[in-house]
Symmetry: C2
Subunit: 324 residues, 2 copies
C-alpha cells in the first residue's frame, strides 16, 4: 500500500479581528458574556471589505510553497475546498493556479464541502495518490462564511471566522502519515444548514444568507461523531486511550465539550482553538494540527473528525512522523 | 491495473425549448440566420422558472438507477459536477443523496468544473476506484448556465443549453472501458470565461452574469486541444485513424469544425449534437456518447475531449465493450 503523508500545513486569516463584544454585536454586555461563555468564542478573524476567499487561499498557498521550498510547478494536483468561491464560474483553484504559476498538467479543481472538507479532501487526495493520479498535491481549505452571515442572526454570527489553510501531500515521509480515512453523508439534512439565495435559486422570502437549525445540527453531531470515531478505532484495533489527540472540527466549545464528555475523553486529548478563531469551517482541523504539531512526538496518533453541512462527516487517522 | 468501466449514461434536459429565432432573440431574421449558420445551434433546452440544477440532476440520476436496476444504496460515491448549484451551501450532491436514498457511507460531494467536467470527473472517479476509495460510483454533470446568461449578450445566449447526465462507474465489464485520461489547467485564463457577481465577489459594474472573451477562448481551444489529442494518441501508440469517434465537447459547430479541420479528421469521426442542444457544458460529452452508442461496435475507440472555463481541458480514451 502506498504510504501517504501530509507534509506541511500553512494558513492565512481574514485580516480583521471581530470581537464578540457589546459594541460589535449591539447586544447588552451580559448577553455577550453569556454567548462567549457558551460558545467559547471571544473573537474571530473576518475578511476585510476587499478581501475574498481567493485572497486567503493565495496567501496560504504561497506560504506553503515558501515553507516547503517547492515551486508551484512541482505539484500535479491543486484542490481547493470552498463553499464561498469568489465566483461560481470559474473556481478559486483556477485563480490560484494562474497567479502562482502552477503547471499545465496540474489537476486543478474546486470541491464543495463545509466542516468535513478537510477529511473529505484528505480522503480524496489519498485516493488520487494511491490510484496513480497524483504524486504531489496541495489541498486548500478556504472560506469566508461571514460574507453569507445575516448580521442580525446572532446564533451564527458569533461563531464563524474566515481563514484558509494549504496542506501539501506526497509519499515523502514527513509530517503526518495518513493511516485511514472514511467519509459519510446524510443529504436528508440538506436544509439544516443552508445559505439561502446564495447561488442560482433565489431566496423564498425567508431571508438571504446562512440559516442554521442549531438543535438539529447539535443532535446530528452528538449522534454521528461518536459512532464514526468508534468505528475508526475498531477498524484500526485501537482504543480511545491510544489516541494522543482527537482533532475535532472546531465548531465551538459547547459542541466539542459535549462530544468529549459523551466519549469519555480526557481534556488533554481534545485541544481546542476556537477562542480566537471561531469556527473556520474546513480550515479548522488543519489550523489545529498546525498549532498543536509542536506538542506531538513521533508515533503519536491523531484522529481528525469533521462534521457539518450537507450533512456530511468523516474521520481521518494520522500518525505524526516528525519533520525529516 | 484495475479495469474501470462507464457502465451507463442517462440524461435530463431543461423542460423548455428555446429557439434561436427572431421572436425569441429580438433580432432581425437575417441576423438570426447568420447566428444559426455560424454556431450550428437551432434550439436549446432551458430550465423553466421553477427548475434548478438539482431538478435536472435528480431526474438524470433517478433514470440511471432505474435503467441500471440498481438501488441508490449500492453506490459508495456520488459526485456532482456543477458550476450552477442551487445554493453555495450545501452542494447539489447532498440534495440528490437525501432525495434518492443514497447510503450514509457514500462519499458525496460537488466538484466545480465547466466544459472539461466530464473528463475531470471521469479521471477523478477512475483514480478513486483504482485507489480503493470506491467500487461503484455515479458522476452527475448538471448545469443551468442560462440562469447566468445576460439576456442581451447574444454571443453567449444563443449557445448554451441546460441539461444533466448521470453516468455510473464500476469494475463490471459493460459500456465503455476507461483506458486513459489526462487533465490540464491554465488559470491565467481565469477571466476569459467568468460569471461576474455570481457568488461572493460583487460585480464591479461590468454587468452581472457570464462574460466570455470569445476570441481568447477560441484561440485557446485551437491551441491546446490538438496538442492534448496528439499527446493522448502518442501515449497510447495510436494514430487518429484508429479512433472511431472523437467526442469533442459540443461548444458549437464553428469550434468543432475548426478543430476537425486542423486535426485532419474525417467528418464521420466527429459527430455533433449541438443543433438542438447547444452547449450543455460538462453534460455535452456524455449526451453525445449516449446518442452515439448505438452506432458503435465492440472494440471501437472513442476519444473524449473537454475544454473550456478555468481554463481547463482534458482527454479520456474509452473503448466500447458492449452492454453485457
Amino acid at each position: 500500500m502506498t504510504e501517504i503523508y501530509l507534509n506541511l500545513i500553512e494558513s492565512a486569516l481574514g485580516s480583521i479581528t471581530e470581537r464578540n463584544d457589546p459594541e460589535v454585536l449591539g447586544q447588552a454586555a451580559a448577553d455577550c458574556e453569556r454567548i462567549v461563555k457558551k460558545t467559547g468564542v471571544y473573537s474571530r478573524p473576518v475578511v476585510a471589505d476587499d478581501e475574498y476567499t481567493s485572497d486567503l487561499a493565495l496567501r496560504a498557498t504561497k506560504k506553503l510553497l515558501q515553507q516547503n521550498s517547492t515551486n508551484a510547478d512541482e505539484y500535479d494536483a491543486l484542490i481547493v475546498c470552498t463553499q464561498t468561491p469568489d465566483h461560481l464560474i470559474p473556481g478559486v483553484s483556477s485563480l490560484v493556479h494562474g497567479k502562482l504559476g502552477f503547471a499545465q498538467n496540474c489537476y486543478t479543481m474546486d470541491i464543495n464541502q463545509g466542516c468535513s472538507g478537510f477529511v473529505y479532501g484528505t480522503h480524496l487526495i489519498g485516493a488520487m495518490i494511491r490510484g496513480g493520479a497524483s504524486q504531489q498535491a496541495i489541498l486548500v481549505n478556504a472560506d469566508c462564511y461571514t460574507r453569507l452571515i445575516r448580521s442580525d442572526d446572532l446564533t451564527t454570527r458569533v461563531l464563524f471566522g474566515d481563514a484558509a489553510t494549504a496542506t501539501s501531500f506526497s509519499t515523502k515521509r514527513a509530517g503526518f502519515q495518513l493511516l485511514y480515512s472514511r467519509c459519510y453523508a446524510d443529504g436528508t439534512g440538506y436544509e439544516d444548514f443552508i445559505a439561502r439565495g446564495s447561488a442560482i435559486q433565489p431566496d423564498e422570502n425567508i431571508g438571504p444568507g446562512i440559516h442554521m437549525n442549531g438543535p438539529s445540527i447539535l443532535s446530528f453531531a452528538l449522534r454521528v461523531v461518536p459512532d464514526a470515531v468508534n468505528d475508526a478505532l475498531k477498524d484500526n484495533n485501537l482504543e480511545s486511550n491510544d489516541i494522543r489527540m482527537f482533532a475535532f472540527h472546531q465548531a465551538n466549545s459547547f459542541v466539542i465539550d459535549k462530544l468529549a464528555y459523551k466519549m469519555k475523553l480526557r481534556g488533554a486529548q481534545v485541544p481546542q482553538n476556537c477562542a480566537n478563531l471561531g469556527n473556520t469551517v474546513s480550515a479548522s482541523i488543519p489550523l489545529l494540527l498546525l498549532e498543536q504539531r509542536n506538542n506531538l512526538s513521533c508515533g503519536d496518533l491523531v484522529l481528525t473528525t469533521g462534521f457539518g453541512v450537507g450533512l456530511s462527516w468523516g474521520v481521518a487517522l494520522l500518525e505524526y512522523v516528525g519533520n525529516d
